[in-house]
């Protein structure tokens, strides 16, 4: 890896503004070994031979030189003749028919004897019979066995080197384009025989020197330039008085990837920072809660649609939990049934403890606010709290729906707080989040009055986007939890939208796709 980077492997073509001298000084030793040998259409193999480097090294050097515009690479398709297994054997020991002739005498010999003397397989021997008879080199007579006698023509043939033999004597592989007509004839004849030669197509790289390359070739570079600075050089001081090979510092390098926090976590840290800057303390709590905390304590009527199976995840086992202190449960049940204790009319009907015991995956972080208020003492006020966490809704997964989402929530418990303060806090919070322009409009939530829906103006996309709810907790929520009606300002924007927007994600499932390639390449949260 390190070696490759030294070699400028991905240099951009032609962007070098260096002089031939500077280029020459920046050449990698491999490039230096190859460049002098490149001329007009130099074949790769000859460059390998001339530079006396490995094929792979020459290949790399050529690529780098081409990237620098010193040479041009081309690829030619060529056909080569290669030796087969029999071909290699015959090249060493001669063609069977020649060996056959060489053991023949004037007296007839049986084929078996000939084969044995010439060390031919039976099959080879019988192939020779056909071939040699065709050339009138032998006479065949049939006695007890098949016998053979050499003719005069055969004797002449024995002394002469055949075209095929000449061909086999060549150095393989042989480029077919270099063959003379009689060699082509021999090739055709040998191709018909078993496993002697084959013709294969081969891509052949060629390199041609460019004008710039010629200039660089002409430069004399001192052989004293140093390549990598090494421990040895630093120890013995041998670097002194020498210059270093010049690098192309503008070259592209292969990308590396490091360890990283998940981008959603980075965004969560950022949201936390905003709350902490504003003096809020973090709330924590379980993801599974009884409906009492998730709904009843927040004055959500027991027949409210959000408490139905299609909206909220219920736990199969343990399906129910236990309720908090009788005092709190009585206060909440009373508020629901008659509103007594809060000068409210309540929701009417009968409040069911069993309904309140049902375990659910929390549907909002507001459950944390309820739990926090239940523990808060008057001496601790005014107080500000925040939470950032996962909430759940019973939805099938698709590009715009997730069953898990991040919500952030803040409350201000302050006996002197009013609606104008809520608007002030919202302005401050969203300005810190990067959205100084906000607008509010009336909304409805069971646990707040006034209720607010908030839009922020996106400074980059130049449009209003819906951001989430806010409000002042209703007395029906606050009185059972705190014991008296103290204003509690609350806002709970979901902030997955900010993350999607920042990363340009359109399919919400991509937040948790955990594609390692994506995570490795992901931009840091920069806000």
């Amino acid at each position: 890896m390190v070696k490759e980077r030294e070699g400028n492997m991905q240099g951009k073509k032609g962007d070098s503004a260096l002089s031939p001298q500077e280029i020459a000084e920046s050449l990698h030793p491999l490039e230096r070994a190859v460049l002098p040998h490149v001329r007009e259409s130099s074949p790769f193999q000859s460059l390998v031979a001339d530079s006396q480097k490995q094929e792979i090294e020459v290949m790399r050097a050529l690529q780098w030189l081409a990237n620098k515009g010193l040479i041009e690479l081309s690829e030619l398709s060529a056909f080569f003749v290669a030796l087969g297994a029999n071909g290699a054997a015959y090249k060493a020991s001669g063609l069977p028919e020649k060996r056959f002739l060489q053991v023949l005498a004037d007296t007839p010999l049986s084929v078996d004897v000939v084969a044995r003397r010439a060390s031919l397989e039976k099959q080879e021997a019988s192939a020779c019979l056909g071939l040699l008879r065709g050339k009138a080199a032998i006479e065949i007579t049939k006695e007890k066995d098949l016998t053979v006698t050499i003719t005069d023509a055969g004797k002449r043939l024995r002394e002469k080197e055949s075209l095929e033999e000449k061909f086999l004597a060549k150095k393989f592989p042989v480029n077919t384009s270099t063959l003379a007509p009689e060699e082509r004839f021999a090739l055709e004849s040998l191709k018909r025989r078993k496993d002697i030669v084959s013709v294969v197509e081969r891509k052949e790289r060629r390199a041609t020197i460019t004008a710039l390359g010629k200039k660089v070739q002409a430069v004399k570079v001192s052989s004293d330039t140093l390549d990598a600075l090494t421990h040895g050089m630093l120890t013995d001081g041998s670097w002194k008085g020498k210059s270093f090979r010049r690098y192309d510092v503008a070259v592209n390098v292969p990308a590396i990837a490091g360890g990283k926090r998940h981008f959603v976590r980075q965004a969560i840290s950022y949201a936390k920072r905003v709350w902490l800057d504003m003096g809020f303390s973090e709330m924590e709590g379980p993801l599974i809660n009884t409906s009492f905390w998730n709904f009843d304590a927040l004055f959500t009527a027991q027949d409210h649609p959000v408490r139905e199976m299609q909206d909220t995840f219920f736990v199969k086992k343990p399906a129910s939990g236990s309720l908090p202190s009788k005092k709190l449960v009585d206060a909440v049940s009373c508020i629901h049934e008659s509103g007594k204790g809060a000068r409210s009319s309540g929701w009417g009907g009968k409040w069911s403890a069993d309904e309140a015991k049902k375990n659910v995956l929390r549907t909002h972080t507001t459950v944390l606010s309820a739990r926090t208020l239940a523990c808060l003492k008057k001496t601790q006020m005014p107080a500000k709290f925040f939470a950032v966490g996962k909430c759940f809704r019973n939805e099938a997964l698709d590009w715009s729906h997730l069953f898990e989402f991040n919500q952030t929530e803040g409350i201000v418990v302050d006996p002197d707080a009013d609606f104008s303060h809520l608007l002030g806090y919202l302005r401050e919070f969203f300005t810190k989040m990067g959205f100084p322009q906000i607008r509010v409009r009336p909304a409805y939530f069971p646990y707040t009055s006034n209720s607010i829906e908030l839009d922020v103006f996106h400074p980059y996309h130049k449009k209003w986007i819906e951001f989430g709810g806010a409000g002042i907790f209703r007395p029906e929520v606050v009185i059972p939890l705190l014991g008296e009606d103290i204003p509690v300002l609350a806002w709970g924007p979901g902030f997955d939208r900010i993350i999607l927007d920042y990363y340009g994600i359109t399919d919400i499932r991509d937040l948790y796709r955990n594609d390692l390639k994506q995570l490795r390449e992901m931009k840091m949260w920069m806000r």
Partner: protein, 567 residues
């Protein structure tokens, strides 16, 4: 939230003024309704659930006209006296004990008006009526009914009638299985000994609420001009309010409302009572909650803009309004009329000290140590499949399953993190190796007897680290754990254990200060095969909640001196 479609022409006639689109959108939105779309012909809005009175064109226009100052203030509605009587009999007590009824005359029902009435009825059924459970509404042509009408509970096998749009007469019980409305709403009556019926004095069945009207008495047509309306359910106040919403909308269409005497247990209620109810509102409370300094006249004006009257410390809330439970709702109405966009924004100078959760800080520290080692953090869902958590891991770890998951892939809360990481590795099979990842998240276990939890579930945050590459082995993962714990000054011991998800003899239990905090080892090839992984995985899973809560917090020394080490 219910969406309603308003005919713009009808709406504008009712409002009494036409507004340009932009102004219209702005005002609708600032009144507290979500606008979906506005065209020349239609306005589509989402009405918040606290305003069922705005689910009709008439009700919406009434609120809007008031808000823009065209016709503001409390609208007077009156019901004329009549002789109509509805008697609620004892037999219906156990199944659907109450009804509120009215008669409306003088409307010429054309197709458009019938459509409007049906829309109001349907929207109220779905929202305020909680899918007919809380309120079921019936509308009948008056001329077909012989008063007094009785509301009775009868054996459903013994009462037969022809349900609406059904070819023949069947029993009440058969309606549940044979009629489409019976199949949809049958669960509201299923298993009851007696079903509720409205029956007139001629013995004709009007309807079997909350399921279906009868075919001959239960259908208004273009020849109808007088209707009988009933709302049945459990809470008279709720039913009465629903009735008021309908009859005032019909009055705005030009109808005249007549009251009906509803008799139960010998007592008679005059239904509907259209007088507003008085609700105390103190000017001080308004100004304190809103941070304003309004005068009484302004208070009166703002309430009027919201259709609410005012009289010396009291608001007069129309009978059809369901949104006023408490004085704060009146204050909210004042704020809406004042204009959310007109409030000043103040930040009081209240000093509070910020604090981040020490546990969250701890987790972030560890994560940063792992990032320093070049590990990549992933984030996996809290929900997983039972198969992934148990079978694929060759484990029988106890799970907290969900009762109503939409998909089999996410039908349980996860109990541990390593399966989640293996799942991530499986999805990344084609990407570059080595893959070194971690994730810290909440895991769920049924609480043991000794554990304190109000839900019966114990939640712990667990950190899992997985190394997946040709060279991932015990030494490699042990080095990571060792580095993490050394870096935070925590000494540990490891003892060999058996764990079905790991290779036998290559899995250890990690203890810190006598507490079991982690498993560490090489994942069993059978498990790897289940996740289709072709490279070895070495992993550990560290219980961060235990490490922090049961160990680190018990050694405050560790936080004050780097020389102190927990062992």
């Amino acid at each position: 939230m219910p969406t309603i479609t308003l005919n713009r022409k009808v709406f504008e006639n009712l409002v009494g003024r036409r507004l340009p689109d932009e102004k219209l959108k702005d005002r609708i939105s600032m009144l507290g309704t979500d606008i979906e779309s506005v065209s020349e012909r239609e306005i589509v809005v989402e009405v918040f659930p606290n305003r069922p009175d705005m689910l009709s064109e008439q009700g919406f226009a009434r609120a809007f006209s008031s808000f823009i100052g065209e016709k503001s203030g409390l609208r007077p509605y009156t019901a004329k006296k009549s002789d109509y009587e509805v008697i609620i009999e004892k037999g219906v007590d156990a199944v659907r004990p109450w009804t509120a009824c009215a008669v409306v005359k003088g409307i010429s029902f054309d197709g458009e008006k019938i459509k409007e009435v049906i829309q109001i009825q349907e929207k109220l059924h779905v929202t305020y009526g909680r899918n007919r459970k809380k309120v079921a509404i019936g509308v009948y042509p008056l001329e077909k009914i012989a008063f007094p009408v009785r509301f009775v509970g009868e054996d459903p096998k013994k009462v037969s009638f022809q349900p609406l749009e059904f070819p023949k007469e069947i029993t009440g019980l058969q309606v549940l299985s044979q009629h489409p409305a019976g199949r949809e709403y049958g669960h509201l009556l299923e298993g009851k000994d007696r079903f509720p019926f409205f029956i007139d004095s001629a013995g004709k069945v009007l309807s079997m609420p909350p399921i279906i009207n009868s075919h001959d008495v239960g259908k208004i047509t273009e020849s109808s001009s007088e209707v009988f309306i009933e709302c049945s359910g459990f809470d008279y106040d709720v039913l009465h309010r629903c009735l008021c919403i309908i009859v005032t909308a019909l009055a705005d269409m030009g109808g005249e409302i007549y009251s009906v005497a509803v008799k139960k247990d010998g007592k008679a209620l005059l239904s509907p009572d259209l007088s507003p109810h008085k609700h105390a509102i103190a000017l001080d409370a308004v100004n304190k909650r809103l941070g304003l300094s309004l005068k009484e006249t302004e208070l009166k004006k703002h309430l009027a803009a919201m259709g609410i009257g005012y009289e010396k410390g009291h608001a007069l809330v129309p009978c059809y309004r369901a949104d006023v439970l408490h004085e704060v709702d009146l204050i909210e109405a004042v704020a809406i009329a004042y204009g959310y966009d007109k409030f000043e924004e103040n930040i009081p100078s209240v000093a509070t000290i910020a604090s981040e959760s020490p546990f969250a800080v701890f987790v972030a520290r560890i994560a940063n140590i792992l990032v320093g080692l070049g590990l990549l953090e992933v984030m996996t869902y809290h929900l997983a499949s039972v198969g992934m958590q148990q079978e694929k891991m060759c484990s029988d770890i106890p799970l907290v399953a969900l009762a109503n998951a939409e998909s089999l892939e996410y039908n349980t809360c996860r109990a541990w993190m390593i399966p989640c990481l293996l799942d991530v590795l499986q999805k990344n099979k084609l990407h570059e190796y080595p893959q070194h990842i971690f994730d810290c998240g909440t895991c769920f276990m049924p609480a043991k007897k000794s554990e304190d939890s109000d839900t019966g579930v114990v939640e712990h945050d667990r950190l899992a680290v997985a190394l997946c590459s040709e060279n991932a082995d015990y030494t490699a993962i042990r080095q990571v754990l060792d580095y993490v714990l050394r870096t935070i000054g925590v000494g540990y011991a490891i003892r060999p254990v058996e764990h079905p998800s790991f290779i036998a003899g290559r899995v250890g239990r990690v203890t810190v200060a006598g507490k079991d905090v982690a498993y560490i080892g090489e994942i069993h090839p059978e498990v790897l095969a289940h996740f289709e992984l072709k490279f070895p995985v070495a992993a550990f899973e560290l219980n961060m909640s235990t490490l922090f809560g049961d160990v680190i917090l018990h050694y405050p020394e560790a936080i004050f001196s780097s020389l102190f080490s927990i062992t």
